[in-house]
């Protein structure tokens, strides 16, 4: 009985220690977990894979460095997929740090030999239009005219002078929108304004906190959603380019197992001690 009482009163710092060990030790291992690709992630992948070369994809970076561990791997594998398919990419951000994260992802993806060999040119194959304040009003404005919403790009060039932007006026000229979101403004605003108002086609990558809230929008309003780091790992698997997200899955799995273990023994101790108290 004392054992269960002691279990209930366990110092939380011991639990923290177990979790940190569970997270850190697997990082030293090269082993990976088997990852099953979910239909939602496959739907996003297929939507991009079916686009003909030269199609225009708009990527909205709506997150900051605090959510980068979950969303940056998604951004990287998405860019790799788009550039390998010769799709044209237009980058914007509704969060101030979003375009910065986009540039970091671009730097990483351009190190890939396959992508490097394509010799992609800024302004022709991809552009970064930067951040614009205004939240959902920015999306609504883009539905009319992207050039008036973003008159200049991230580095100050006039949007109308960029070759890629010459053929793009609004969402009618965009073949697919991909939103990486960590909060507000984010995927819900893109669904409400870009999809339900302007009939755009939308896929999303969300933090795991947000992802369940997006499920009601699938499949009519949202093609699919990548949820958290696991969603990023699934995309890497289906794209046949396992990278950071896949390498983290072992840590993820082990840490979850440790948490489940503590939940089970904690509940066991709770019910045993409660039963004993009732009896006494």
């Amino acid at each position: 009985m004392k054992f269960f009482d002691r279990l209930l009163a366990i110092d939380r710092r011991i639990i923290f220690l177990f979790v940190i060990i569970a997270v850190t030790l697997p990082l030293f291992s090269k082993a990976t977990l088997h990852i099953e690709v979910s239909p939602m992630v496959k739907a996003v992948y297929d939507a991009v894979d079916n686009l003909p070369p030269g199609s225009k994809v708009l990527v909205s970076f709506d997150y900051d460095p605090a959510s980068a561990p979950e969303l940056q791997p998604m951004a990287l594998s998405f860019f790799r997929h788009c550039f390998s398919k010769d799709l044209k990419v237009v980058i914007i951000g509704l969060w101030p740090q979003g375009p910065v994260q986009a540039n970091i992802a671009l730097e990483d993806v351009f190190r890939d030999p396959e992508i490097k060999a394509k010799n992609l040119k800024y302004g022709v194959d991809y552009v970064n239009l930067g951040y614009m304040a205004g939240n959902e009003v920015v999306i609504q404005s883009m539905g009319s005219n992207i050039h008036t919403t973003f008159p200049a790009d991230y580095t100050g060039n006039r949007t109308s002078e960029l070759p890629l932007m010459k053929g793009i006026k609004n969402f009618d000229n965009i073949d697919f929108i991909y939103n990486l979101s960590a909060g507000y403004p984010g995927t819900m605003e893109w669904v409400q304004f870009a999809v339900d108002r302007f009939q755009a086609k939308l896929g999303a990558g969300n933090t795991a906190v947000q992802a369940p809230g997006m499920y009601p929008y699938i499949p009519e309003q949202l093609v699919g959603v990548l949820g958290g780091m696991k969603g990023g790992a699934e995309y890497e698997i289906i794209a046949k380019r396992p990278a950071r997200a896949v390498s983290y899955m072992l840590s993820q799995g082990v840490s979850h197992a440790v948490i489940i273990f503590f939940i089970i023994i904690g509940n066991l101790a709770f019910f045993v001690t409660r039963g004993k108290k009732k009896t006494s």
Partner: protein
């Protein structure tokens, strides 16, 4: 010889006449018919829709149509330009353009245009007759959004009717909520223990619905604490929220007949940084050891940290938020939780303001309409009837 020549001549003459009467099958496909052009409905007036009856050779092996070209002109005899193409089997095309005159794809409104449709086979084509003139014009009302308008009107009627009833003093029933019933008990506990009450309005700004609902509950709680002379501490995240909270508590103390017990320094601003605010409130909990904590409003990632620290301090905790992601943490770590809309119901229940009660009732009636539509709709859809599905369809 002469006879043979005349026979041969007659033969070839007959052959020639035969060919004239029954010419070799032409490679031209049969033209599309019944072409109609009309203003595209529910738009800004810069598009015309063209429909036609498919060519009889559409999908046929011989003279098969491979595509349809749509041509337009300013006059029926004028020069026609190609406006677009649709694949075989399709009989609708929307000719649209920009609304700005300086745009190279400008489509003028209120100008007559004539259309014809060209059925293209492999090497040949045939054209329909020219359509009657059509011009584009904008609509003031989007008929596809009638459902939305109906929804807004129905809900507004419900809301106004119930607000009116509430103002007239009619009792509008709201079912009891576990978290609310615990409020009085929690305040009583604090009074017995001689410890203060900690009330946290969350991280929302003053215009957010959750914060507004929390103000109403704060008023009720403050009135009780005034009666019991129990101190109430309200650390605030937002300066405007602090100002409103001070007014709310002051008014509550006045209503309770204890204005002298009101202490403005108990309702104070901490910081507008999320985790710095949490650190500050945690410090208050660990130092003051309040008997009761209220977490009512808009919360984010700090919710579990606050609830855990309150639990360590030994406080009874009542929480409520409409942030779905944080509700599981409050359910796990606090004693009573108002889930989502229950927070708004609680503020109506405690505040008894006609507007709050009336809108809550209107929401309930709206939910009743939705529930009935869902059940009838699902049953109807199971038997193939699309009426309810079409009722809620919104065309954009």
């Amino acid at each position: 010889m002469k006879k043979i020549k005349s026979i041969l001549f007659s033969f070839f003459l007959l052959l020639f006449l035969f060919n004239l009467s029954f010419p070799q099958e032409s490679s031209d496909p049969r033209p599309p018919t019944e072409i109609k052009a009309f203003d595209t409905p529910n738009d800004n007036g810069h598009a015309i829709t063209v429909i036609w009856k498919l060519s009889a050779d559409d999908g046929k092996v011989k003279n098969n149509v491979v595509a349809y070209e749509i041509l337009r002109s300013d006059s029926p005899e004028g020069e026609f330009e190609i406006r677009g193409m649709v694949p075989v089997g399709e009989n609708l095309f929307e000719d649209k353009g920009a609304k700005e005159k300086k745009d190279k794809n400008y489509f003028p409104s209120h100008k007559n245009f004539y259309y014809k449709v060209r059925a293209k086979a492999d090497k040949t084509f045939s054209e329909s007759e020219v359509s009657k003139p059509a011009f584009a014009y904008g609509q003031w009302y989007h008929t596809g959004k009638t459902t939305v308008l109906a929804g807004v009107i129905v809900f507004s009627v419900f809301a106004l009717a119930f607000i009116n009833l509430a103002k007239k003093g009619k009792e509008l029933y709201i079912r009891p909520l576990a978290g609310i019933e615990a409020v009085d008990e929690a305040i009583g506990r604090a009074t017995e223990m001689g410890k203060p009450i900690l009330y946290i309005l969350g991280l929302g700004s003053a215009e957010m619905i959750a914060t507004i609902a929390s103000f109403t509950i704060l008023s009720r709680v403050a009135k009780k604490t005034a009666e019991y002379q129990t101190p109430i501490l309200v650390p605030c995240y937002d300066a405007v929220v602090m100002a409103v909270a001070q007014e709310t508590v002051r008014a509550a103390y006045l209503e309770a007949g204890r204005p002298d017990f009101y202490k403005e320094e108990n309702i104070f601003f901490v910081t507008s940084m999320q985790f710095a605010y949490v650190a500050g409130v945690n410090g208050i909990m660990l130092r003051e050891k309040p008997a009761t904590n209220f977490y009512l409003g808009k919360f984010y990632a700090e919710s579990l940290i606050l609830a855990e620290t309150g639990s360590v301090a030994g406080s009874i905790q009542i929480s409520g938020t409409d942030e779905i992601a944080q509700i599981p943490f409050f359910i796990a770590a606090t004693d009573y939780t108002l889930i989502g809309e229950e927070l708004y119901a609680a503020s109506a229940y405690l505040g008894k303001e006609p507007v709050l009660l009336g809108t809550l009732k209107a929401q309930d009636w709206g939910k009743a309409v939705v529930i009935i539509s869902l059940i009838l709709g699902a049953l109807a859809a199971s038997f193939g009837f699309q009426f309810f599905l079409n009722l809620f369809r919104v065309q954009l």
